[in-house]
């Protein structure tokens, strides 16, 4: 049986009839179309299709691995890049002023109706770019922390960034009219809180993951309580603060793109640089150390890079939830747990997701804060992911 299967692999589509029968008997095969698609795509785009993974060798011949993947990491990268481009186009095409594609095209090239040009260039494009930048930052920050803490429930806000940034922002928004200072204060608050959490978790013998998580939870609870008190006391400014706490991209423009963009691009680079260390950390502490990873230093560096990325995102967009939690799980389904691919692809997927959520948030009669959309999208998706993983075993 496996012999015909191998022959079919080599022959691709040529011997279709032969191909569609035998491999189905191997364990875990879902449907023949997938096999056909693989056979063909393998020949046309060898780089894009995952060659090593779907055909896993099992005892007694070849068969299918437990988890099936269609695309290689490079293929997935291409797919995500085209998604990002598509979402960007849709994002600048949709809005309260409807535009046909030729009008949009003209406006993009600086021709035609000047109002449309302004709308596209000054309102929609920076906002779309910002959504992608923030999504990328949150996606990578989530992947970094999930890897460093070895915990799939970690999100970019676990180490106290949300609480610190939230407290700083709520304080400024409720105690006075210092709206302009909110981004800076939120950034500083988020990063300082992470430093505080690390300080609390530190022991002479190193930096244990459990202590980091506990310290993060404790600090978050305390700061959250103070924020809530401030919100209760300042009833007239609650609306503004609440919108910020949920996360919103409304009214952001080029200045935010430039500042946040610079910070985020630096952070993405630094984060990607930690990929190999994260791969080794996923083997457990003992193995990581014996493979030459300085444990405490690596944990500090990764935590700070994640805090840098998340704090930048938060300072511009408020506390947009779920992106950093869900995206790494999505990407892991596609590329496995190799952080050299997981990190950059989490950034790309985060960009796509947040940008898409931003489009959805603007579709209704009133604009929703994007944080609500990501939560509404993210929660059922997470459930689906859990269900699928359970069924796969």
């Amino acid at each position: 049986m496996s012999l015909t299967f191998n022959k079919a692999r080599e022959g691709g589509l040529a011997n279709l009839a032969e191909f569609s029968i035998p491999p189905l008997r191997a364990e875990g095969v879902s449907w023949p179309q997938k096999a056909l698609f693989l056979g063909k795509a393998r020949e046309v785009f060898p780089v894009l299709v995952d060659r090593e993974c779907p055909y896993t060798e099992v005892e007694g011949g070849r068969g299918w691995g437990q988890r099936k993947r269609l695309l290689s990491p490079i293929g997935l990268t291409c797919l995500l890049l085209s998604f990002i481009f598509l979402v960007l186009l849709v994002s600048i095409a949709l809005g309260s002023v409807p535009m046909t594609f030729p009008e949009l095209w003209q406006a993009l090239w600086g021709q035609g109706d000047p109002i449309r040009q302004t709308i596209v260039w000054q309102l929609r494009l920076p906002r779309a770019l910002l959504a992608q930048l923030l999504g990328a930052a949150l996606g990578m920050a989530g992947a970094l922390l999930q890897g460093m803490l070895g915990n799939g429930l970690a999100d970019p806000y676990l180490l106290g960034i949300s609480a610190g940034a939230g407290l700083a922002a709520v304080g400024l928004l409720t105690l006075g009219e210092w709206t302009a200072w909110v981004p800076l204060a939120a950034w500083v608050g988020g990063v300082l809180t992470t430093v505080l959490v690390y300080g609390l978790a530190r022991t002479p013998s190193g930096l244990a993951v459990e202590r980091l998580i506990l310290a993060g939870v404790a600090v978050s609870a305390l700061f959250g309580a103070i924020s809530s008190t401030l919100l209760l006391m300042a009833d007239d400014r609650v609306q503004v603060a609440l919108t910020w706490l949920i996360g919103s991209l409304s009214g952001r423009g080029w200045p935010e793109v430039q500042v946040a963009g610079a910070y985020i691009l630096v952070g993405l680079g630094l984060g990607w640089g930690q990929a190999r260390a994260l791969n080794l950390l996923s083997l457990g502490e003992e193995m990581a150390v014996s493979l030459g990873i300085p444990l405490a230093r690596t944990r500090v560096v990764i935590g700070l890079v994640a805090a840098w990325l998340a704090a930048t995102a938060v300072s511009v967009g408020g506390l947009i939830g779920f992106v950093g939690l869900v995206v790494p799980h999505m990407v892991r389904q596609g590329v496995g747990s190799d952080y050299r691919w997981l990190l950059p692809l989490s950034a790309l997927a985060g960009a796509t997701l947040l940008s898409g959520a931003d489009i959805l948030s603007r579709l209704g009669p009133i604009e929703l804060p994007v944080g609500i959309v990501t939560a509404v999208m993210g929660a059922p998706f997470f459930g689906w992911l859990l269900w699928q993983q359970g069924a796969g075993r």
Partner: protein, 277 residues
């Protein structure tokens, strides 16, 4: 006398403020096999954790190739000379055996390296072949059996090109056949490659059979150090393990035959450190 590759001087260590290991000294020559034996809780694993830098010593020094392991060498420099096979391994999901084993090259790669060089790949294939994993290279690690998993992590350690290999109770989760296969493989690597082996072993007879040197630990202190026959005298085994034993000769050389426990507690009876004779 030659310079020992691994030299431990008055090493003390433990967890937090608790000291588990007190002033232990020993040295290992290149190409030698040292087994650390002792009852449960005697600090065997702590020695390995100190040697592999997972723990920082409370006092004392460890010299690797003449240089201080904790003060003079960087983590990466240590990882190029010394590898560890931990007792329990954490498996990242979704890696193939070859990908897992390739991670062992990291200490030899510069920080900007994205992929393995051809020389690295050659080493990976060599290690897969040595451990008999060549046909399983494309298997996902989570589908491996206990013995195969142990071999995969051994291959990972071999890919590090270590001069010293530390093993923490490598035979614990293996059946008798796989125990022998693993130790035979180590012995071959020791003879062919000049690998130095330092292993914690529960089974005294396996330790006797394969090691040149045995370090007997009891309640955190070195009780005896030397050749198996000199260290594991019946009186000393009775004193440290609470076990009556007798040396007998077998086709594989002298082995210990357990007679009875000298302490009548059930806990002792359940943890006989011998596999029969």
């Amino acid at each position: 006398m030659r310079e020992p590759i691994l030299q431990v001087e008055d090493l003390s260590g433990g967890y937090g403020s608790r000291t588990v290991l007190r002033q232990v000294s020993f040295s290992v020559q290149k190409g030698e096999w040292l087994s650390i034996v002792g009852p449960n809780g005697s600090g065997k694993s702590t020695v390995l954790r100190l040697l592999s830098r997972v723990l920082i010593p409370q006092a004392g020094r460890v010299y690797l190739g003449g240089r201080d392991l904790h003060a003079q060498l960087t983590p990466k420099q240590v990882a190029r000379q010394l590898a560890l096979l931990p007792q329990q391994q954490r498996l990242p999901a979704g890696l193939t055996v070859r990908q897992l084993v390739s991670l062992g090259r990291s200490p030899h790669q510069p920080w900007w390296a994205w992929q393995l060089t051809p020389a690295d790949r050659q080493r990976v294939e060599w290690a897969l072949e040595q451990t008999g994993l060549g046909s399983l290279a494309l298997r996902r690690v989570e589908t491996l059996s206990g013995g195969e998993r142990q071999r995969a992590f051994l291959a990972l350690a071999l890919v590090q090109e270590p001069q010293v290999l530390l093993l923490d109770e490598p035979t614990t989760f293996l059946d008798l056949r796989h125990q022998l296969e693993l130790l035979e493989l180590l012995q071959r690597l020791k003879q062919e490659q000049g690998l130095t082996v330092v292993t914690v072993l529960h089974d005294l007879n396996l330790a006797i059979r394969y090691s040149e040197q045995i370090a007997l630990l009891g309640s955190g202190q070195m009780q005896a150090l030397g050749s198996p026959l000199a260290v594991l005298t019946p009186s000393r085994v009775r004193q440290v393990f609470g076990l009556e034993v007798e040396w007998i000769s077998t086709p594989v050389g002298p082995q210990l035959c357990p007679l009875r426990s000298t302490a009548p507690s059930a806990a002792r009876l359940l943890s006989l450190p011998l596999s029969g004779c």
